[in-house]
Amino acid sequence: MSRLRTSLLAVAFALFAPVSAWAMQSATWDFTNAQVPGSWDVSSFEVLQPGQDGLHIRASAEGRLVRRFDPPFGVQVIEITTKSAQPASIDFVWRRRGAPPEQYYQFSIPIDEGVATAQLNMPDYHTWDARAADIGFVIPAGTDLYLQKITLKRWNIGEQLAEMWTSFWKFDRVQPYTINFLWGPVLTRTPVATHNLWNMAPPPRGWSVGRFLLPLIAAWALCIWAWWMLKPQSRGRRFFGFPYHAGVFFLGFAVLWLGFDLRMGLETISYAKTDYDTFISKPVGERTFRNAYTLHDVVEQSLPELRTSPQFVFLPPPNTPFRTLVRYLTYPILPASETDPIDRFDTWLVYERPDVTQGSGGQLLFRNQPLSRPGTILKSFGSGTFLFRIDQ
């Protein structure tokens, strides 16, 4: 009895311990108001000046800022707040505990214009050490920005479990790979990871739910088997017509199946809902369709003019699959191949090419170089997307 009471007390203490013990932990290094938290090892920069807006860094050559890390907790997310007059890119670097002095890992962080915060979910990088020895930045030549804040964050177990529940219900979108496989539920442990879950290039960063389901099923089966072995008197009983133990096992299995089916079924329905919201319910001219964006609308509205000749020039963004799609949509009218001399064709469909413009003489220009003979824009569908015909 006293052992039971001790166990109950321990559980009660764990449940009702001060709320602060369960809160997210964070620590901030604030560089505004001319502060420089900690001691930094820096290489020479053209400008390295603390100020009201943060630590002003201007690099005429590649430079490095690194400091000893020594965090108060194992860090999961690092937020870096900067102010920059133009977009830039810097590298975040770290050295693992016990690693040689010059062995750093790094990845590139895009810096947005203005005041922006980049959120780095560090468990995405398998070389990340939550209590790394050193962290810092490599600043490329030509960078000019203000480093305003570095915030370190960690979520407690309860919050991570809650985040895993949230990420379980976050659905992927229809992608070109959806016909080949479905990632299924992917569990993440931080809000940053959940936010990024289906927004970054695959594979998704997180844990497949299968990692938990399969051991759970195995453990469940093991418990049932142990019960069957230890309680032979229960073997003759029935559970909805099944042998008692098998029935209990299959009931648990069915619950897991139904939960998984609910999750994947809702994802399938979300595909249809997204298509309805973005394409089916919209009028022509306002539709977008998955990763083809407005291409279907543009082609549909351009077909009458495209059909005046058997081939046309199609200028899509480079490294996109749009050429094959347009070939399919316009068949038997075909886009000219990339090796055909384009001055043979009168009609041009330019799609998402802000680098292709019409010059004052009426010809199309690519980076200010003439691309075509003078002509007329027949239809404009937005910046960089238009239908063009050579003047006869």
Binding site: W183, G265, E267, T324, Y328, P332
Partner: protein
């Protein structure tokens, strides 16, 4: 409108298929109307489109309304003659279905809720299929693109602009595109929605056929459980409700599995023989439906069919001579039906793989493939918990899994899975597994058989423990 077009377009092939199945049943009809209808749709589409293919490539019959009507007539007329002369006096089918217990109220509620959920999921996917443009590569590059070209030129052309010579996609059988051409012909021009919506037919056929096959052995709740399990597989639903041909292949494979499953412990020799006749025709039609039908599944089915015949011999339904005749029948069907397709490929220099030549596939070990397979079957969202369940049942109920009739889907699955795994482990097809591109398609071909075996094993466990 698109749905009506698809249904209208189905009528002639379904009618031909119905009569084909009925004639092969002979004077001892075996199937229920629903079974015959579903098998008729599956086999009829392939048979009629293959006939159209032969007319086009041998006699240059154009792919217009008259060409298609000629193809339908070539099958329909002799089948009608056989049905209403030779088989005029045949008995009616008296299928024996498994008894169904009276369900408690909670059981009916559960079935109702799962039924509504299934209809919502499948309905949402079907709605998107009919209402959205083509999206996936193989449809844009192959199935629909070739159909558009065939419809435009009214002939089966191996050179599709902008190409100037036959490419890999020309090696695929043209039967699925031809069915789209038929629907386009009815519509007076290309109809994207109907051409895509056609694919839902094969998916629905798989569900209905699974119900029918199970219903002969198990009660209504168990048969519905099988339909629920198959319809809840997310990737099978995605494949079935998009314009890819893998559920088309799955429907053919499952049609042959179903027929063999029904035949294997038949006690009536004539019934067993009529089912094996149908299986032989089904195997030959599968061989001309898609490349892996000929290269991979037909040889396996020859083995499984002979196994079925041998088991009938063991059960004294067949004599040894009948087993030999079964082998001869299957071989003749393959020669008669698949033979012309093989000759056509040879004459036109088309490869026997899917856009790859089989003869140039090199053999070497790819160590990361087993892990990729495990991920696909157990860790992704493709098949829910089907494979853990199936593996568990195979281990716990192995004797039942390898006894008649569950032996048929079990053995076929293990053979096909083994053959696929060999190809992925030891050939350049490994990239299809490592990149998770083609691997799941092969599994999609087999899942209806897996679900059949799974439900039978679970239900058999209950039935066994209820017996004194």
């Amino acid at each position: 409108m698109s749905l009506l077009l698809v249904l209208l377009g189905l009528v002639p092939p379904a009618l031909c298929g119905w009569l084909l199945v009925r004639c092969l049943e002979g004077s001892n009809p075996f199937f229920t109307r629903l079974e015959r209808g579903v098998l008729g749709i599956i086999f009829g589409i392939t048979a009629t489109m293959f006939t159209m293919f032969l007319l086009q490539v041998t006699l240059s019959v154009p792919l217009d309304i008259y060409g298609f009507l000629m193809a339908f007539a070539i099958l329909l007329v002799p089948l009608l003659v056989i049905r209403f002369t030779v088989l005029r006096h045949s008995a009616s089918a008296t299928p024996v279905l498994a008894p169904t217990p009276i369900l408690p109220l909670w059981g009916k509620i559960v079935i109702g809720m799962l039924g509504v959920w299934t209809i919502v999921k499948v309905g949402a996917a079907a709605f998107a299929l009919f209402s959205t443009p083509t999206f996936y590569d193989d449809t844009i590059d192959n199935w629909n693109y070739r159909a558009k070209a065939f419809l435009h030129t009214q002939e089966i052309t191996l050179v599709i602009p902008p190409d100037t010579a036959p490419t890999g996609i020309s090696s695929y059988p043209p039967l699925v595109p031809l069915m789209k051409v038929w629907i386009g012909t009815l519509a007076g021009g290309w109809n994207e929605s109907a051409a895509n919506g056609l694919h839902a037919v094969w998916y629905i056929c798989c569900l209905v056929l699974l119900y029918c096959v199970l219903r002969r052995r198990v009660s209504v709740p168990w048969a519905l459980a099988g339909v629920y399990i198959l319809s809840s597989l997310p990737l099978f639903l995605i494949q079935g409700m998009n314009a890819y041909a893998d559920v088309y292949v799955a429907s053919h494979i499952f049609a042959v599995i179903s027929v063999l499953f029904m035949a294997v412990d038949s006690v009536n020799r004539r019934t067993a023989w009529s089912l094996l006749r149908l299986a032989g025709v089904g195997i030959a039609l599968l061989a001309v439906g898609k490349n892996e039908g000929l290269a991979l599944y037909a040889p396996l089915f020859v083995f499984v069919t002979l196994l079925c015949a041998w088991m009938l011999c063991k059960g004294s339904t067949f004599k040894t001579r009948d087993v030999v005749m079964t082998g001869i029948w299957v071989a003749v069907m393959l020669v008669v039906i698949a033979g012309p397709w093989v000759v056509y490929k040879q004459l036109n220099g088309l490869v026997f793989g899917n856009a790859h030549s089989i003869s140039t596939i090199s053999v070497s070990w790819h160590k990361d493939v087993p892990f990729a397979i495990l991920i696909n079957l157990f860790l992704e969202g493709n098949w829910l918990l089907l494979f853990p369940l199936f593996v568990l049942l195979l281990l716990v109920r192995w004797r039942a899994a390898f006894s008649s009739p569950i032996l048929i889907p079990t053995v076929f699955f293990l053979l096909a899975f083994g053959a696929q795994t060999f190809l992925y482990l030891f050939t350049s097809l490994a990239s299809e597994a490592l990149m998770q591109t083609g691997y799941a398609r092969g599994i999609a071909h087999l899942v209806p058989a897996v679900v059949l075996a799974t439900v039978m094993l679970m239900e058999g466990w209950l039935r066994q423990t209820r017996q004194p």
